[in-house]
């Protein structure tokens, strides 16, 4: 198939950036979206132009590195699919595809399609852990955990930290990302001990960094490649309220 690409080009964090249009022929529908961009890059290099910078690594939807705005949607048109899992067969021959970095004030562009998502690490550094030193753990089966809760904790822990939720949200809210972590730990007896402290610290950090608030549009859930449910946010709000009440 033959396609046209409209791609965001930006030399570095300081420069302004603009769209460039490229034509690419003989794209195979079997190709992954990133492989299509590899192909484009080889073409650009052979013409003496600068290749497009992109974050990527595992190329199988698990590391969370990749993340592009494709035709206005984080990770493109398919549900529960990361950019690297997307195949060219999702597009029609002759189509024009617009490719941008995740559009969010919280994720500044470093170069072209590559962004800075370090704000996520900062939120987790504030409290996204269970304080257990190596060597202190009791025997693994000494605390049984109800299977239902444990399965739910897994569903919450499935987040790959790609940032699609923030990119999809008009307020640049990180509520789904934070709520998933809060819930994972709150559901487990090991994480319960610090639950109140954790939610207060992480929410405070999220606010301090400038992430927006949630106005219930559910755009985050719709674009989460791991299908994490917005019900997490309501639960986090309850945890937060509870933590405040306990504190006062």
């Amino acid at each position: 198939m033959n396609i046209k690409l409209k791609i965001w080009r930006q030399k570095n964090a300081q420069s302004k950036g603009k769209f460039e249009t490229y034509s690419l022929n003989d794209v195979s529908p079997e190709m992954g979206f990133l492989e299509m961009l590899d192909y484009l890059n080889q073409e650009l290099i052979s013409k003496g132009e600068d290749p497009v910078a992109i974050d990527h690594d595992c190329r199988e939807g698990i590391c969370g590195s990749c993340g592009l705005y494709i035709n206005g949607q984080p990770h493109g048109p398919e549900p529960k699919t990361t950019t690297c899992e997307l195949r060219m067969r999702s597009f029609k021959d002759g189509s024009l595809i617009t490719v941008e970095p995740f559009r969010s004030r919280m994720f500044p562009v470093i170069k072209d399609l590559l962004i800075d998502r370090s704000a996520f690490d900062k939120i987790l550094i504030a409290g996204g852990f269970i304080s257990s030193n190596t060597g202190t753990a009791p025997e693994a089966n000494s605390i049984p955990v109800c299977k239902k809760k444990s399965d739910k904790a897994f569903d919450m822990a499935a987040c790959i930290g790609c940032g699609a939720c923030v990119a999809a949200c008009k307020n640049a809210s990180a509520m789904l990302f934070v709520a998933a972590k809060i819930n994972q730990y709150a559901l487990l007896p090991q994480g319960k001990v610090e639950a109140a402290e954790r939610v207060k610290k992480m929410v405070a950090k999220m606010d301090e960094l400038g992430f927006g608030s949630c106005s219930n549009t559910y755009a985050c859930e719709a674009k989460c490649p791991k299908g994490i449910s917005v019900s997490a946010i309501a639960k986090m709000n309850r945890e937060f309220l509870h933590a405040k009440i306990v504190a006062e």
Binding site: C58, R87, S118, S131, T136, A137, N141
Partner: protein, 639 residues
């Protein structure tokens, strides 16, 4: 040729580690604050080591190439992590786990290390549970286990098909907790390109800041490499595309010996190559072979749809050749059998380079629902990539480069032959012999980082409590930085016609053809010639777009490929030297009448540890003789 001293402690196998720990020197809390440690890598090995060392009070700097430590390739592990808990009451024990690993590794691993890995496996699981890792549980709320990798007990802990991701989130959270406490400083988006030695000891690194391209010198009292495997030497593999050997290669060139470089596990069930631009081979978990049946048509070049080929015209070749183990034969055996059928012209798909993995019978017997519960996410992943629905038509699979048993040679203390330079996780050679048993890598990486290295490195550092800060302004650092900077300049000034990717693909093909699943003398010699020619072409016709002082992914690739080319040659030397077949290393000259691997214990019961000489001369071989005092060395037969 010298004999290597692995520093294995004396005493009975089961007491070695305890005795050793009791004899190791310690560093008191006040002195720990005066000691700096560099960790390269944030996979299970690096993150677990860094967080433990931080908890102990050392100053730790951690480097990784990704934008956050959580993305290390350990995230991709699907199947599970082993431990000798014996929760299933099926007769498992530390000894059995040890034995299965030694046998699985085809008697080419060091007994004492393997036993210790099995011994600390239970602590690893305890710790992950304490960190909130949601491993699968049964209805009583206790941890569930499954059988994995063709062993007779169920000892594998798992979190759906995402065990690696969940373990990483555990180690990453403990790492971030130390960042919060100020004991660990993170350096994401850095490529570590050289190791700096001062007075014979590893005292730091040269790293390139990937955002602005600047080279930085970082000093420390010890350096730990946890940089993962080098399977991307094949270009196409199940590894993350940026996985690389550069830090390990730099260590080798600075005097660290490389152990068994040719030992690579080729995984039998990956999605086959579908197009010429393919950049990655996605693994389909081994667990699929518990229910899927592998077959090819009995007639060469049969182009019918698989569902139209009647039962009697299908060759279930694994069941035919290995009636006792059938579809569950070990990875290396399954991989070679697939290659044999495809080479003989029975392969399926456009390229003829794939075989069927069929769930028809399993679905008929157990119902679609059960199969969906077991493998739903894998089936979905397969369909996303291939566009075919495995509930209706068999999957197509083919072997792919997957795991490197070879790596930096380390002694019992996990130290390389360079004092103060340690290597843990997949980057070292230590625990898996000639073939790794499923679910034992996550276990080894975590054990190394959480429960072994923190003890052994303290013994080394006990000598450094009065050393004081290591300066990074010494001639050694300045020279190392200059060497790296010269190399970058040279790469950028070639101005040829071929991109790093082109060279990487060519190298991958050479390695896959001659140093892959099956090797022979002629092929390996030919590969060495081809690699030499490729190296020459690389340094005269390479084209690297962009500049040094900016974010430049082409330059990153070029630096990696330059090292892969050299490593590839070492792999061929090693494969050539080892004239026996063992585990994943299959030398055509050394096989039985039935085409099975023939080990030659009299001549090859050693670890081949290679020392760098210079760029012109071949590497020097050192041998670590393997002594088996606790197991009877046996033929590995699956017929």
């Amino acid at each position: 040729m010298t004999k290597l001293d692995a520093k294995i402690p004396a005493g009975p196998l089961s007491e070695k580690w305890t005795t050793h720990k009791n004899n190791l020197r310690l560093v008191n809390p006040a002195n720990k604050k005066r000691i700096d440690i560099i960790v390269v890598g944030t996979g299970l090995a690096g993150a677990s080591a860094a967080s433990s060392l931080g908890e102990m009070g050392y100053n730790v700097k951690v480097f990784c190439y990704s934008d956050t430590p959580r993305r290390a390739h350990s995230v991709a592990a699907q199947g599970g992590i082993n431990a000798a808990k014996n929760y299933k009451n099926d007769g498992d024990s530390v000894y059995r786990l040890f034995y299965d690993m030694i046998k699985g590794g085809d008697f080419r691993a060091r007994e004492a290390n393997v036993y210790r890995a099995a011994e600390v496996s239970n602590d690893v699981i305890d710790h992950y549970i304490a960190l909130g890792v949601p491993f699968a549980r049964d209805y009583g709320g206790y941890l569930d286990n499954r059988s994995f990798g063709g062993v007779q007990v169920s000892r594998t802990f798992y979190a759906k098909g995402q065990t690696g991701q969940q373990c990483i989130l555990g180690t990453y959270s403990s790492l971030l907790r130390q960042v919060d406490k100020g004991t660990v400083v993170m350096y994401p988006r850095y490529d570590v390109l050289d190791i700096v030695k001062v007075e014979g000891k590893a005292r730091g690194i040269i790293a390139r800041n990937l955002v602005n391209g600047e080279l930085e010198r970082h000093s420390a009292h010890a350096v730990i490499l946890a940089t993962g495997g080098y399977g991307t030497v094949y270009y196409l593999s199940t590894l993350a595309v940026n996985s690389n050997a550069s830090a390990a290669w730099a260590a080798y060139k600075k005097g660290a010996f490389f152990g068994n470089p040719s030992f690579v596990q080729i995984h039998p069930t990956s999605i086959p190559v579908l197009n010429e631009f393919q950049s990655k081979l996605t693994l389909m978990s081994e667990s699929l072979r518990n229910d899927g049946r592998v077959w090819v048509p009995k007639n060469k070049g049969d182009k019918r749809k698989p569902v139209d080929i009647p039962e009697e015209e299908r060759d279930y070749y694994l069941e035919r050749r290995y009636p006792a183990f059938g579809n569950l034969v070990p990875r290396d055996v399954a991989s070679r059998a697939a290659k044999e059928r495809c080479d003989a012209g029975y392969g399926v798909g456009d390229t003829g380079l794939s075989v069927y993995l069929d769930f028809k019978d399993a679905i008929e017997k157990q119902g679609k629902k059960t199969i969906e519960n077991k493998y739903g996410n894998l089936f979905e992943m397969y369909e996303k990539i291939s566009g075919e629905n495995p509930y209706e038509t068999p999957m197509r699979i083919y072997p792919a480069g997957h795991y490197t048993m070879g790596g930096l040679w380390v002694d019992y203390n996990l130290m390389t032959t360079v004092p103060g330079l340690f290597s843990i996780g997949e980057s070292n050679f230590s625990d898996h012999g000639a073939n790794r048993l499923g679910a034992s890598s996550l276990m080894q990486c975590s054990g190394d980082g959480y429960f072994i290295l923190p003890y052994t490195i303290s013994d080394y550092l006990a000598d450094d409590i009065r050393t004081g800060k290591i300066s990074s302004d010494t001639p050694e650092f300045i020279q190392a930085e200059k060497n790296t900077s010269d190399k970058i300049k040279r790469l950028l000034s070639i101005n040829g016609n071929q991109t790093p990717l082109t060279f990487h693909k060519k190298l991958g093909k050479i390695m896959w053809d001659y140093c892959g699943m099956v090797r022979n003398e002629e092929g390996l010699k030919k590969a060495i010639e081809l690699i030499d020619a490729l190296k020459e072409a690389f340094w005269s016709d390479l084209k690297v777009a962009g500049k040094a002082d900016e974010l430049n992914q082409e330059l990153e690739k070029a630096l990696r490929v330059a090292d892969f080319i050299e490593l590839a040659k070492l792999m061929c030397y090693d494969g050539l030297n080892r004239k026996e077949s063992c585990g994943a290393h299959f030398r055509e000259e050394s096989q039985t009448e039935n085409g099975e691997a023939r080990r030659q214990d009299d001549a090859y019961s050693f670890v081949a540890a290679w020392a760098y000489t210079d760029d012109e001369n071949p590497p020097q071989l050192h041998k670590e003789e393997l002594v088996f005092e606790n197991v009877a060395v046996k033929e590995r037969s699956y017929e």
